[in-house]
């Protein structure tokens, strides 16, 4: 049942994950495409990178996420050799770094929203009326920014949850050199999330 | 997703709560809790009457001529050529001024059951200005036999937009909170507009052709009246109603006030009936 007789040479879970990630690609393509269209159509509703967003902080965050990809690879390598301790250690590391990423993003959001960089038109104008200093760009900028990074953040959070699940399963010895499908799929998803972030970071923060 | 319902429920429960304590507070108050009709007399102990007129000095500006040629059936109903009803003033009296008791009332006033009906004839709303008690049914009638739609855009009530493709009377609409004033317009005929004043008690009136108005069945006491006109804005006046007596009041408008501030969607309540949550909090903190 795991794989059919004339199969692709990949077990179902892994193939399914690849197919699923394809649709995820399209989802983010849609969001990013919308951002690009809006930004080209209404340049004066957007600020230049660094004017509003805290690029250094996010760059650091990006670095963390890339590290977490490395640790994920380590975890997978470990279980391929049947190294249970290594698997657990590296999974733990990945999960924690993932949480750090989400944490920093939360901090970023809080700071930005206090500066009056909000996605909602009414709030944005209200902030202006209450004598808050002018935020460059408009609510449209905020809306696109929070939507894109927010959905990515959600993906990371889901990933972290799955990582903890994988970690505890690993501690109960749920994986072995013969059976590491779960870890491999976890890795696929995590690398995808990482990749999406690198693209988002480039488009939203740098360009 | 169910935000309107949720908020409405909340507002209603709030009304109930406030009304309850209000009612308790003035157990001895005249007319407290008694059913009252929209201006219609009901038994109130030694009730008095407020008679008044709205004077107008200066020459009234000519109302805008309406280009109704796209709607011949309507145009035919206006022999003198269709005009807007922004300022209707004749020999020193101003029509369509909404007058209501702003302060000094106690007690709660349940919504009267009878429906206030606004007719649509010749692509005009008649009457042009009406008042209604919070929760009183207001129905719109189409007598033109062509399509109208009634779009109310309140600030503190749920907006509605009813189509009337042919002669018919709309389902009665009820306003959940007091509001001075609610603009109503027809999207098919951009010139069609009228105003609804929603107050939490039946003590209001609209000035007639001779600028006069009468608020009957008023419990004795001293009150602040406010008058509202769609072009000339607000006026206030004081009256004291003796038991079984008749008080008179005069509001003087003047053509010079042409660009007065005209409030729309303003909340009003003698003792805070039926106000949405945020306002209640704000006022409470202000008054205590």
């Amino acid at each position: 049942m795991e794989r059919g007789p004339s199969s692709f040479g990949v077990y179902n879970m892994k193939l399914g994950m690849w197919v699923f990630l394809l649709s995820e690609v399209m989802f983010f393509t849609g969001l990013i495409g919308a951002y690009i269209i809006l930004r080209f159509a209404q340049p004066d509703h957007f600020a230049l990178p660094g004017q509003v967003l805290n690029v250094p902080l996010t760059a650091l965050n990006t670095f963390f996420l890339i590290c977490s990809s490395v640790t994920m690879v380590k975890a997978f390598a470990a279980i391929e050799l049947g190294d249970q301790k290594g698997l657990q250690r590296w999974l733990l590391a990945t999960a924690i770094i993932g949480m750090i990423f989400v944490g920093i993003q939360v901090v970023e959001y809080t700071v930005l929203s206090h500066e009056g960089f909000v996605p909602i038109a009414d709030l944005y104008q209200a902030h202006g009326r209450q004598g808050g200093h002018e935020v460059l760009g408009g609510p449209l900028y905020g809306a696109t920014f929070y939507t894109m990074t927010g959905f990515h953040g959600t993906h990371v959070s889901i990933g972290v949850a799955c990582l903890w699940f994988t970690y505890f399963k690993a501690r109960r010895g749920g994986y072995s050199a013969a059976n590491f499908g779960g870890v491999e799929n976890m890795g696929l998803y995590w690398h995808f999330v990482d990749l999406v972030w690198i693209i988002l970071f480039t488009i939203v923060y740098l360009i | 997703m169910f935000d309107n319902r949720a908020s409405k429920l909340f507002a209603l429960s709030l009304v109930a709560a406030v009304a309850a304590c209000g009612g308790g507070g003035d157990a001895g108050g005249a007319g407290g809790g008694e059913p009252a009709g929209g201006g219609a007399p009901v038994a109130v102990a030694n009730a008095g009457t407020i008679n008044g007129t709205v004077d107008f000095t200066g020459t009234a500006p000519a109302n805008e001529r309406i280009d109704m040629s796209a709607e011949p059936t309507c145009e035919a109903k206006h022999p003198g050529g269709p005009m807007k009803e922004t300022v209707v003033a004749s020999n020193g009296k101003l029509k369509n001024v909404f007058v209501y008791i702003k302060e000094g009332l106690t007690g709660t006033y349940p919504a009267p059951s009878e429906t206030v009906t606004v007719d649509q004839v010749g692509c005009h709303y008649t009457p042009h200005v009406i008042g209604a008690v919070v929760g009183q049914p207001v129905a719109y009638k189409n007598s033109d036999g062509l399509a109208h739609n009634v779009k109310a855009q309140p600030t503190n009530n749920r907006p509605f937009n009813i189509s009337q493709p042919n002669n018919m009377t709309s389902a009665p609409q009820r306003f959940a909170s007091a509001e001075i004033m609610i603009p109503v317009q027809c999207d098919v005929h951009g010139w069609m507009e009228m105003y609804v004043g929603v107050v939490a008690h039946p003590y209001f009136a609209v000035s007639g052709d001779d600028g006069s108005f009468t608020i009957g069945n008023v419990p004795p006491g001293t009150y602040t009246l406010e008058a509202w006109h769609e072009k000339y804005g607000l006026k206030t006046g004081q009256v004291t109603v003796e038991p079984n007596g008749t008080a008179t009041v005069t509001f003087a408008y003047d053509a010079a006030m042409a660009n007065a501030y005209v409030p729309l969607g303003k909340l009003f309540d003698p003792h805070r009936h039926a106000e949405p949550a945020p306002r209640v909090v704000a006022d409470a903190s202000a008054t205590h």
Binding site: Q42, D44, H45, G128, E134, G138 | E64, R65, I66, D67, S69, A70, A147, N149, K151, Q153, T155, N161, S163, P183, Q185, D187, V188, G190, W191, E193, V262, L264, G265
Partner: protein, 249 residues
Amino acid sequence: MNEFWRLPENVSTFGGPIDSMFHLIAWITIVVFFGVELLLLWFLFRYRARPGRKATFTHGNSRLEIIWTAATAIMVVYLGIISRGLWLDIKDPARFPEPGLELIVRAKQFEWNTHYPGADGQLGTADDFVRRNQMSVPVDVPVRITLQSEDVIHSFYLPEFRLKQDAVPGMNIPAWFEATRTGEFTVGCAELCGLQHYRMKGTIRVLSAEEFSAWNAQQMAAAPAPGPLPGSASNAAGSPVVAAAGHAH
């Protein structure tokens, strides 16, 4: 063919080419249609099941495949090329003729408000006058209109002029037409725009040059444009021109 397709009378300069193209496609499709359906019927009759007979055992024929693929491809590409040319002649602002009259048609629920330049011949000045749901244009003069919308998407539709163009809030969309005869014709809305969408109709009167200048003079003397109701949707949406120009801080 016209009474079969019920095309309205055409009164615009580019309506003729559109109609002839319509009929070209109509004839092509009718021929193809009858060809296919008659062949189908013949096959159904000729090859109906009869006992003791086996169907021909064949998996197809590459030459046939190539032939009918090529044939279809050539036909559609030909259609594509000719229609693209005509399309650009009508819709591409770069190819618009020199306008004899420029108007702004500003749509709102549920009115077509046509802004005329007024005495100074300039749009967007104080002496512009507006006609609700009733346009008047001179005959044999290219009229260039800029479509705006105050609230939702409407679609400016002149059946007799073979003209249709959406009016999108926040955009200024150019269109043009040139009437070939005088008369009174329909203005409609072709995009669902709300409850009274079906009532969003007006009339366009095509006048001779003299009639038009007379009418224009008379209008300039007459009443100004009716303003919107306080707090109504029309000013909630703000002026599209402003919206296009960006948000004011």
